[in-house]
Each structure stands twice: as structure tokens, then as C-alpha cells.
Amino acid sequence: MSTTAKAARPRTRRPRPRALVPAVPALLLVLLALTGPLLAAHPVDRPVTAPYGEAGTGGAPLGGDQLGRDVLSRLLHGGSALIGSALAVAAVVTFLATLLGCFAVLGPRLGRLVERAADTAILLPSVLGIMLLALAWPGGGRLAVSAAAVVLGTPYAVRIVAGAAAPLAATGFVEAATASGERLAHLALREILPNLRATVLALFGLRFVDAVYVIAMAGFLQLGPRPPEADWALMIRENGPGILLNPWAVLAPGLAIGLLAVGVNLAANALAPATVRRAALR
């Protein structure tokens, strides 16, 4: 969310109100998901209608799930944790990547290590990575999945920051600072970092998109949140067998995840500078 608010700051580029339009649907959806629990009519864990009850019965506008719980209420509850953990993952990955990326361009040894790490990470599909970590940490739930998303996402993110920072490391003001004997930390944090604002904000948006994808997939594979919880991805998995009886129990959370993923991606894409978008595609 903060990307949308900050990325258009005049310092990073000319303010263009039209560029903010693609961010509106994502912003509305995130707001709705975060305030959802306040709007829900029923508790998430109490049956109000028959299992897979049809839409409209028992005061459940979207019908019941496999235990007859209100689909709409569960839907309204299910988004905040997903979005919350995705935001947290995106923030941590962006922070780590920014720090490592700044140091990587100044120290060739760290830079090579980062390259190798990214090359290795590409060999491990994220689903397998999540499974490994869920295995390593049986009771970890959402936290384990978030940790996996951080570990799997950081190598690429560092590469993007390093790519954007490399030209800066060769500029006159950094060389002047190096010549005047500044320490590495000062060079990275005071000379290079302030010039990476646009990249870092764009990176945050892209990592948010990726985190939504990874965390939703883990929820679907039943590796993250545990059953009584109302998680959109988990709802799809749980209600899959009853798709014939009450399609809404699957369709509604599916639509919610789809809209969130697409909305956030379109917003991040519209706000990201072209160079970062290019780098992210590599």
C-alpha cells in the first residue's frame, strides 16, 4: 500500500495522477480485506446452515462451506492474514535485498556470492522450497511459510538492487567519497542508498506480488494456516470436493485471490520505473 502512496513522489519522477489509476482497485481490495473482519455477520467457526448449503439459506448470502459455516463471513475474515504476511515478507525481503545489494556492488566478493546464490536458488522451484521448510518446522504454520518466502525471494531481489546500484558505484561522488577514505557502511548507506529510492519502492511492490503468490500457494497445499482458520487459499482446498453443491465456497475465495494478485501486480507494474521492471523480468 505504501508503494502507491510514495512511489509517485516528485523526487523520484514527475507526478502523474493518471499513473496512480491502476493502483486504485488494489488499494480498495486491500482496504476491504483488512477491514473485512469488522463487516462479517457471523463468526468464522460456527455452522449457520447445512454443509455446502446453497446461497441465501440460513442468512448466508454465499451459502455454507463443508461444515455449513458462512462463506461470506469467512471470506471477509480470510484476507487480512494473507495480506499481512505478504506485506511483512515483502518488507523484510526488500530491506535485506537493499542492504545486501548496496554492499554487493562495493565488495566484489560479496557480489559474486550473491550472483551464485541467485543462480542456485533458480534451481529450486518455490513449491519445493516451501515444502522443505514446512518439513523443517512442522508447527511453524504461517511463520514457516513467511520464512520460506523470504529465503526464496531474497536472492533475486538482491540482484535487482545490485543491478540498479552498479552504475552508481562508478559515479564521481561515490569515487570521491571512496578516495576521501569513507568506510564501506558509509558508502553503502549514505552515498548509494539515497539514490535507489525508486528501485527500492518498485522492488517492494514486485516482492508483494510474489509473496501473495507464494503464501497463497502454501495455504492451498495446507502447509501454512491450520484448518479452523479462514484463509482464502485454504478455503479453496477445503471446499474443492463440494464445488458441485455450492460453487461459491470455492469461487468466492478464488476470485478474491485472483483479484488481489492481479490488482497488486497491475499497480506495482504501473508504478515501477521501466528499468526495474526490465530487471525483474530477467
Partner: protein, 334 residues
């Protein structure tokens, strides 16, 4: 075409540059191959170590209810879990090239365990891969033919949207449309007596669910690579010469775009393989997804390590092919 440069060289009847170039290419490829294999070994070591660091092991995870500590210890010895981890990793790694993937926690040979589902998964993944590449090339060049036109904008928007969609969300949409509302396709995969899907129509929905997000990703890469090429002098010159757009795109822009496209497509191999695991679960497709889910529950290190090794090896091969394409294109140009 890039071929014209090579053709001129050979007709000049001086073999040295061609030979030197071939040797240079071979050396470069050998170096790349060595690097890729080293990365593969590093990944496998990391995975092995990661599973080792976890609390609990395969012996206790597969223990029967009421089994005593002595029984678990005996099986731990039987599975070789009492030996140091690096020793087991070395043995496992050296047996790998012979096709021996180790023994699962339940005492079955991992290669037997994977021999039936792996081909099914590869069929699913490779069909989706081919479809993705074809669709992405078609959509990307179509959009690039008229930059900033209606088609370009629509393709840009839909491909951006599609690539953010998780596979299982696409699958749910397909299920509703193709199975529930129209009744054209069965909702779950029916398996024949030999353990393979009963018919090609069982593949339609899983393949589509995999193809849609990856096509979104690759279309953007094709489009971006063609845009980069459009800015180069030789493509601009071809356009100024008044050549038809189609010819400029296919003959002049596309050859230079291959390295970028190859790298992008290679990246999507991993995402496709990961997606298969998810999609198989939803459609009850008889692939490695099912085996993997069971192995995670059993803490079955050899099975998971074998699946990681197989997929990582496959991705390594695709990345090598991408390296080859890059080396060829750049080698001819140099």
C-alpha cells in the same frame, strides 16, 4: 539473419577464424557446464543439510503407534541415519549418476517410487511448456508489430494480469467454466489401468492452468526483447528500407532477441514444475505431486531429495540450452 555473417567467413576459405571460433565456443560451453553442475551439487548439499537440521527424522516419522524407542533406533540404523550426514550425502551423490536415487524411509527404492508418476508429470509439464512458448512467441510478436496499438495494450495488460495469477486460481476458474457450467470435461483425472491418465482430454485443464500464468510471463519477455531489438540500428535501418513489418520482426528483430527469450523461458521451467505439483493436487492427477505430499508427511529425505534433484537437473539442462543459444547468437556476432 545472423547466418549471413558466418556464411561470408567460410566462403573466404580461411579456416582459422571458424576453427578458433568453434574451439572458443566449446571452451565457453565447457566452463558453463562445469559451473551449472557445481551449482546443482551445491543446491543438493544445501537441501540435504537443511533436512538434516530439522528436528525428528524419517525413522521416527514413519514409526508405528506404540513402537518402542529400541525399534526406532533399529530402523534408524537400518536406514543408515546414524552415520554422519556428509558421508551419506557423498554416497547418495556418487550413486546418483547410475540412476540410484536411494531408499525411502519405508524401505522402497526411490527410483521405483518415482518411475510411474514422473513420466506423467513430465508429460503435463512439457505439454504446458511447448504451448507456453508457442503462445508467448505468437502474442509477443503480434503485440510488437504495432507498438502502442490496441493489440499491444491489450496483450500487455492481460499478460501482466495473467502472470500474477496462482495456478490453482486459474484451475478453479477452468473447473467452473469447462466442467460445471458446460460439462465438457470431467472435474478429476480418471486413471487407466497402467497408472496414466485415461485420455488426452484429462490433460486439457491441468495444462491450461499451467499455461496461462507462464504465457503471461513469457509474453512480456518476448515483447520486451523485441522492443529492445527495435531500438538497434540494424532493425531501424531495415524499417527505413521499407521492408514489411512482418519481415523486419521475424528476420531482423527476432534473431537478436533469442538470448533474452531463451533466458526467460528457462526461468519459467522451474515455475512450471512447481505449478505442476499444485495443479496435480487439484485435479487428482497421478504425478509426483502426490508422492511429494506423502513424503513431506513422512519426513522422507531421500524421496524429497530425489524430487529436488530431478527437477533441479531438468532446470539445469534447460538453462544450459539457454546458455547455448546465448553463446551461439553472441558468438556469431562477435
Amino acid at each position: 539473419m545472423t547466418g549471413s555473417g558466418a556464411l561470408e567467413d567460410t566462403t573466404r576459405s580461411v579456416p582459422e577464424p571458424a576453427v578458433r571460433r568453434a574451439v572458443g565456443l566449446a571452451a565457453r560451453l565447457a566452463a558453463v557446464l562445469a559451473k551449472r553442475v557445481a551449482l546443482l551439487v551445491v543446491l543438493l548439499a544445501v537441501v540435504f543439510a537443511a533436512i538434516e537440521l530439522l528436528p525428528g527424522d524419517a525413522a521416527s516419522a514413519t514409526s508405528e503407534r506404540g513402537e518402542g524407542a529400541a525399534g526406532v533406533a533399529a530402523r534408524r540404523r537400518l536406514l543408515g541415519l546414524d552415520r554422519p550426514v556428509w558421508e551419506r550425502f557423498r554416497d547418495w551423490l556418487t550413486a546418483l549418476p547410475t540412476g540410484d536415487l536411494g531408499t525411502s524411509a519405508r524401505g522402497e527404492r526411490v527410483s521405483d517410487l518415482l518411475s510411474a508418476p514422473l513420466p506423467n508429470t513430465l508429460l503435463l509439464g512439457s505439454t504446458a511448456f511447448v504451448l507456453t512458448v508457442l503462445a508467448a512467441l505468437a502474442l509477443g510478436t503480434w503485440a510488437a508489430a504495432r507498438p502502442k496499438g490496441v493489440v499491444d495494450r491489450v496483450v500487455d495488460l492481460t499478460s501482466t494480469a495473467a502472470f500474477a495469477l496462482p495456478e490453482f486460481v486459474v484451475a478453479v476458474g477452468l473447473l467452473l467454466v469447462l466442467s460445471l457450467w458446460t460439462g465438457w470435461l470431467p472435474a478429476a483425472t480418471v486413471t487407466g489401468a497402467d497408472g496414466t491418465p485415461a485420455g488426452w482430454h484429462m490433460l486439457v485443464m491441468p495444462v491450461l492452468a499451467l499455461t496461462v500464468p507462464q504465457t503471461g510471463w513469457n509474453t512480456r519477455i518476448v515483447r520486451g526483447a523485441l522492443a529492445d531489438q527495435a531500438a538497434t540500428p540494424h532493425v531501424a535501418a531495415a524499417r527505413l528500407d521499407g521492408l514489411p513489418t512482418r519481415q523486419v520482426l521475424l528476420r531482423h528483430a527476432l534473431p537478436g532477441a533469442w538470448p533474452a527469450i531463451a533466458t526467460g523461458v528457462a526461468t519459467s521451467t522451474g515455475m512450471l514444475l512447481g505449478g505442476t505439483v499444485v495443479v496435480e493436487t487439484l485435479f487428482n492427477y497421478p504425478g509426483i505431486g502426490t508422492v511429494l505430499a506423502g513424503a513431506v508427511a513422512d519426513r522422507d529425505t531421500p524421496v524429497i531429495a530425489a524430487v529436488v534433484a530431478c527437477s533441479a537437473a531438468l532446470i539445469t539442462v534447460v538453462l544450459l540450452l539457454a546458455d547455448l543459444i546465448r553463446a551461439r547468437t553472441l558468438g556469431v556476432r562477435a
